[in-house]
């Protein structure tokens, strides 16, 4: 079935699955999981170099940068200023002007501070960034982010790392209907069916970290996610049947033996 390419900010990606680089049992397992996922974009965080212990291996040694596009995040930032500063540092450390923008509003839920998020989006777009904001599953917030120049909107399915799956299916549909930029479901995925559901609702992509990295067998889960994304996308494009209260026989009702 023909599908339109997955394009964000003018760049085309082969896979609609975006994966993280955090919390894997080892860098070697991460590299294998990345390979199995089929993803061509990975997120990374920006942190101080450990000055006293230089023995730790570099994350980038385990990412095939010829194949993978690196998307730095501003995780852990609680103000627009912090997030803007981190995005600028990421741009200097990396090779691109892309950022997964996070401005967190609460430590326990890691829910975004939408007001600060919209402000930071506006500032970074002005500074020439391609901004992918992690946001609430709120269609109005998504619209404001889009108006601020976001290249995509990334509503959360559920709190980061919770594995609860998509909590507000209806909002996701509405966000997809409203948005003129790609909608990427970011956070909350627990297992393959969650990712498939996101895609069936019309998501253009799904971003996940813990669901793969925290699985008992991360490489197997990465493979499952790759299939789930493809299955969900195909189901969306194919168009599901309407839901009905009662049965409709699949086999003919005429010609039954003995009647």
């Amino acid at each position: 079935m023909n599908d339109s390419p997955f394009v964000i900010g003018g760049r085309t990606f082969r896979s609609r699955l975006i994966v993280g680089t955090g919390k894997y049992p080892s860098n070697a397992v991460m590299a294998q999981a990345h390979e199995a996922s089929g993803a061509d974009m990975v997120t990374v965080a920006v942190r101080r170099v450990n000055i006293s212990d230089r023995s730790r291996e570099s994350l980038l040694d385990y990412i095939d940068t010829a194949r993978m596009f690196i998307l730095p995040n501003t995780a852990g930032c609680y103000t627009a200023d912090e997030a803007v500063r981190t995005a600028h540092l990421a741009r200097e450390a990396g090779l691109s002007n892309w950022v997964k923008l996070e401005v967190i509003g609460d430590e326990r839920t890691l829910f975004p501070d939408n007001e600060a998020l919209i402000e930071a989006t506006r500032r970074l777009v002005k500074d020439g960034f391609v901004v992918l904001p992690y946001t609430n599953d709120d269609p109005i917030a998504c619209r404001k982010l889009e108006d601020a120049g976001a290249a995509a909107v990334m509503p959360l399915g559920a709190p980061i790392g919770s594995g609860l799956g998509i909590q507000n299916v209806n909002n996701m549909r509405i966000i997809r209907e409203f948005a003129r930029v790609p909608m990427i479901v970011d956070a909350g995925v627990g297992t393959a069916s969650d990712a498939a559901l996101a895609m069936e609702l019309g998501a253009d992509g799904v971003l996940m970290n813990t669901a793969i990295a925290g699985a008992q067998a991360p490489v197997a889960m990465a493979t499952a996610m790759r299939h789930a994304i493809v299955a969900g996308r195909l189901a969306f494009l194919a168009g599901r049947i309407p839901r009905k209260m009662y049965a409709t026989a699949s086999s003919p009702v005429e010609g039954l033996v003995g009647r």
Binding site: V44, V46, L60, A75
Partner: protein, 66 residues
């Protein structure tokens, strides 16, 4: 002389360029970003910018994240 490096006090014998500071710390300059007194430094300026007594330097890199 003393500088503040990634939030910690750090001793240097004399003012050094950012390039020399990174070399001293065994850090590959191609993989980090550096902030000097709260201003982000372009990589091509690492050789010419000197770190002086009392300066603040932040060196960041990419780590695992979601």
């Amino acid at each position: 002389m003393q500088i503040t490096l990634n939030g910690e006090r750090f001793e240097l014998d004399r003012p050094v360029s950012v390039t020399d500071l990174l070399a001293k710390l065994d850090i590959d300059p191609r993989r980090v970003a550096v902030e000097h007194n709260l201003g982000i430094l372009k990589r091509q300026r690492f050789p010419e910018v000197l770190v002086h007594e009392g300066d603040t330097v932040e060196i960041v890199n990419f780590v695992g994240g979601g």
